[in-house]
């Protein structure tokens, strides 16, 4: 056996644990959803048993309308009373996307963007409909109503 000095201490190999920690960090970094910022998670969405899983196949351009119980449009956490202007801005952005995809696309045609309506369960439809009408007026035709299949407290 080799001579060992008296002050030598045991030194565990930290490399495997460091590898594992970095893998965990990578995992958490990947699962962070940046899009969450545009989604108001405080909304209680309607519960519809046969709603289908969202599948945009990674191709669709989405515009999200969060409508709270008072019928206000919430954009990035801020209540926007000027929702007509917000919709007009989104329509202009969608028009630019459409013209980039097809240079012959003319204003007034069917916009490629899907309007996602995330409305609270209790919001009266009378508050939601004017926003749909305004979006239709600007050329939006594809709409998605977001819902949950089961109430969150029933999830296991």
């Amino acid at each position: 056996m080799a001579n060992v000095s008296q002050n030598e201490i045991a030194e565990p190999n930290l490399v495997p644990i460091l590898d594992m920690v970095f893998q965990l960090i990578t995992f958490f970094m990947l699962v962070i959803n940046i899009k969450n910022k545009s989604i108001d998670e405080s909304l209680k969405l309607p519960i519809v048993g046969s709603a289908r899983t969202v599948d945009t196949k990674g191709q669709e351009d989405l515009t999200i309308f969060n409508i709270n119980e008072s019928g206000d449009l919430v954009v990035y956490g801020a209540v926007r009373k000027d929702w007509e202007r917000v919709i007009a801005t989104e329509a202009a952005a969608s028009l630019r996307v459409a013209q980039r995809m097809d240079p012959k696309f003319k204003p007034g045609g069917e916009l490629p963007t899907t309007v996602v309506i995330r409305g609270a369960q209790k919001v009266p439809y009378g508050k939601v409909h004017p926003m749909i009408q305004e979006a239709q007026k600007h050329g939006f035709r594809k709409f998605q109503f977001r819902a949950l299949r089961v109430a969150p407290q029933e999830k296991k």
Partner: protein
């Protein structure tokens, strides 16, 4: 921090201190765990919503007018959704024949039989929901969902559903 040098008889190597890096990695990990909030998995009801198109009357359906723009005249089924003052669904009315449905199951069954009945004469191509402005979104979506379960005369799923706001005082009689 101290630097330790291990003396060996013939061999001298450099040992990196991993502890500091591990501390930092654990702090990062703690941050990501603390801020991790898995998103609720949402589902959707997807609709293609053009503005409601003109309604074709029974007379127009049986005697088509060559001058009328047939492509925008659709044989429609009009359904009125009445709400109670608290926004719940009070009544479902089939406006064309005045019949009513007691609940959503009854509505689905009646709608199915009406669509099948209409398929023999003039197939229904769109459903217009005249929604009471007070009705909450939950109930509106439940009715839309029941409509989407239906099939048209050609066997395709009914997709042309146009919700409109009912006039004050309830759906058009």
């Amino acid at each position: 921090m101290f630097r330790r040098r291990r003396r060996k008889v013939k061999q001298e190597g450099v040992t990196l201190n991993m502890a500091a890096m591990l501390d930092m990695a654990f702090q990062l990990l703690a941050f990501f765990i603390a801020t991790f909030k898995p998103m609720t998995i949402e589902q959707q009801i997807a609709l293609k919503l053009p503005p409601p198109e003109k309604i074709k009357s029974d007379a127009e359906a049986t005697k088509p007018n060559p001058d009328s723009p047939v492509d925008v005249l659709l044989k429609s089924m009009r359904i009125g959704l009445e709400a109670s003052p608290d926004g719940e669904l009070a009544n479902i009315l089939f406006i064309d024949d005045g019949s009513r449905a007691r609940n959503l199951e009854d509505f689905e069954a009646k709608m199915k039989s009406k669509l099948e009945g209409a398929a023999k004469a003039t197939p229904i191509e769109q459903v217009i929901l005249e929604v009471d402005p007070r009705l909450n979104l939950q109930k509106t979506m439940e009715v839309m969902d029941r409509c989407l379960h239906q099939k048209m005369a050609d066997g395709k799923q009914l997709t042309k559903i146009s919700p409109v706001l009912a006039r004050a005082g309830g759906p058009t009689k």
